[in-house]
Subunit: 435 residues, 2 copies
């Protein structure tokens, strides 16, 4: 052993690892999300972290994105999952004949993205996803339910969020109406970055695509519509007669009626035509949640409707809608801004410190208190003083000192570490005092 060269202990960059008292808080947040998802009758699913590359990379025809952790084991090409949506698609395609639809599942688990490590970016992320999958059809109430779900989670956290909601048919249809259907995707890429690059640059880029000034201006104008859901909806509903556009309007109207029925406070959501959600698989309702007091956090939650979740694996049409909370990133942002829920850095309510030969008696006391609270016996060999220091440092609220005299008398020295008060009480009295 003594000859051995030591290896400097370290972890990979971009992987969050919390000290246990912070982990307690993260677990608490995870539990709250889980309990709200379950309250809305979502059932748990846990898919493997590793999947066949052929399955996970079906979208890219098996091509490995550089962000994906992919490797070969034996003669099998495998990937670590980079989201929870593709595994869900695989799962429902595999189990379509055993599931009852609409299938409401949640999954809380880690996903892996091998991006370059940079501030605020993680390679291992806990995602908290809830999705509703239909067979052939799925009513629009499901879209509203996902928004309600996210709103309930953040309300439970005591965090103010605003859900920015749109429907992709609006901009798709608007482009169609302008006769620009073959340029729609390029247009959306530009409009998606409107907030970042500004109106001037967006105009320039749209014109470069071959749009007229009028077309570019109209597109930017409609994209900038954002605010009270009912008012914005009223103001845009006749901006285009295009069929797809009107489909978007109808869908937004229906979703709006459900948001009201769910009694989500009206200040908690807006209609925001600028919500585009990149060039991904969404086909209808799309939404992103922001914290108005912290726009710099970006979207802390997002989701939307997809028409055909499992299209790579089955001909059975399965429309779905889902919402995803990026817990790792959210926790990191809250932590850095001192916004984490305040909870004690320990779960220990009472620590028993044995003095002299009283250890076995202390274990009996521990058993008694454990029925009501987390109770620990400090059996460390260190000095009494260092034990008191460590209890202080860990902010343990109560200490019980048990020497031989105490065992004989049945009266124990209980100390309230916050106030400094000390009592001499029986076991039962100690329990009452602590409670």
């Amino acid at each position: 052993m003594s000859e051995k060269k030591l290896i400097t202990p370290r972890k990979l960059a971009g992987f969050m690892e919390l000290e246990p008292c912070k982990q307690l808080i993260l677990n608490e947040m995870e539990n709250k999300i889980k309990s709200i998802y379950e309250k809305f009758a979502f059932m748990p699913l846990d898919t493997p972290i590793l999947e066949l590359s052929e399955i996970l990379l079906a979208k890219s025809g098996g091509d490995i994105d550089k962000e994906v952790y992919a490797f070969t084991k034996g003669d099998t090409n495998v990937c670590m999952r980079y989201d929870l949506t593709v595994p869900l698609a695989r799962f429902v395609a595999m189990n379509q004949f055993n599931l009852t639809f609409p299938f409401k599942r949640y999954q809380i688990g880690k996903v892996f993205r091998g991006e370059k490590p940079q501030k605020g970016r993680f390679r291992e992320l806990i995602q908290c996803d809830a999705d509703i999958i239909g067979l052939d059809t799925l009513p629009l109430l499901a879209d509203a339910e996902c928004i309600k779900l996210a709103d309930s989670v953040f309300t439970e956290f005591g965090l103010k969020i605003v859900s920015h909601i749109s429907n992709r048919n609006i901009l798709f249809g608007y482009c169609e109406g302008l006769g620009l259907e073959d340029k729609t995707l390029d247009i959306l890429i530009i409009l998606d970055k409107l907030g970042k690059i500004g109106k001037e640059n967006a105009l320039y880029e749209l014109n470069k695509l071959g749009l007229t000034e009028a077309q570019s201006g109209a597109l930017i104008d409609i994209t900038l519509n954002s605010g009270d859901f009912g008012k914005v909806l009223e103001s845009i509903k006749n901006l285009s007669e295009n069929e797809t556009y009107q489909k978007g309007v109808k869908e937004l109207e229906e979703v709006y009626s459900y948001l009201k029925a769910y009694e989500i406070p009206t200040e908690n959501y807006v209609l925001d035509i600028g919500i585009i959600r990149g060039h991904n698989y969404y086909t209808g309702t799309v939404f992103e949640m922001y914290m108005p007091q912290h726009p710099e956090f970006g979207a802390v939650c997002a989701g939307g409707r997809y028409d055909n979740l499992a299209g790579y694996y089955t001909t059975q049409k399965m429309p779905g809608v889902g919402v995803s909370i990026g817990l790792t990133r959210l926790f990191d942002l809250l932590d850095k801004n001192d916004m984490l829920p305040k909870i004690s850095p320990t779960n220990i309510k009472l620590q028993i410190i044995p003095l002299g030969d009283t250890l076995t008696h202390c274990l009996k006391l521990q058993k008694y208190f454990q029925t009501q609270m987390v109770c620990d016996v400090n059996y460390d060999a260190r000095s009494f003083k260092s034990k008191m220091n460590s209890a202080n440092k860990r902010e343990i609220p109560f200490i019980m000192i048990v020497g031989e005299t105490e065992v004989e008398s049945g009266k124990y020295a209980l100390k309230n570490m916050k106030t400094g008060e000390q009592y001499n009480l029986s076991m039962e009295e100690c329990l009452n005092k602590i409670k």
Copy 2:
């Protein structure tokens, strides 16, 4: 889309994936383990799933065991963790100046082992580990606490287990006492499989090592000692005067005194000298838990004491003791033997079925019931009959049918799906009936 070749949806062999109603049960078991670990004042830790190969494979000097999922990303050699102990060692070595000792942590998470898929073997396993790490020293009460912990978990599960406990110093010292110290490891390998290969074959193999008949016989005799902790301890305590042997006896005596103080029922643990725990890092107390009614399950939980957890990463001596429950394997065994706790295949208590244009009213009812139970609105477009069938199949206990007449009268049709009884009640009366 129509031209696209479909990929058959499938998952990797050896990876457990449960249907949601079974996942509910697994989650319930995981929660119980977690709550007992926390009750004993263990704090949560969550280390990354990926680690640097140099760190994780320090033991083998960086050599990749074929069971480890290892690969290169960019120019970094990484591994998926194959246990939770090595990451713990890395963590305590990295954070030794910030932690308070004894450091009690639990970690529940997945580990990965790329072994050949075979019946009952998994490549992705949920491990539930609890360890206690000391600085320089760690009292033997910690060993007893780990055994108590496992006993509490299985008691909570309603499963009968017996903890088979030994101390490696017994057989180490016994070999030393026989002058066989240079052959100890080879001897232990043979004695470890005594139960499998039988006395005859073990004798033959020991003799082949160059032991005398008397030595081999004595080693087999002592290894076969198993039974009531106090009685076996009494009967073996003078079998060798060797110092290491006597250290083992003393340690077992002390651990025994704590097991009694913890009031673990005596039928729940035995002293079993045959517990060796392979050729691994354990140095003192070792234990394996078996289900006496199901010896074919093998050890469902195991652990022990290691003298120097983080020796590859730091010169600071950190003795530890830990216990690990292999939840994936345990769940699989219980499932296959129809021994899983019986819980409802759904968490839904009440499902509201809207008839006609009553959806928004149903959402208000849902909100009312959700304060007390999991309540779902079935907004599926399918027929009423198919909704009733699906509720039946999912074993949802109560159904509430809400048509326009019900909305007007404020009296709803509530159906108990088990008994078939149907009521006509107000919202409040429905709540009372269900509760």
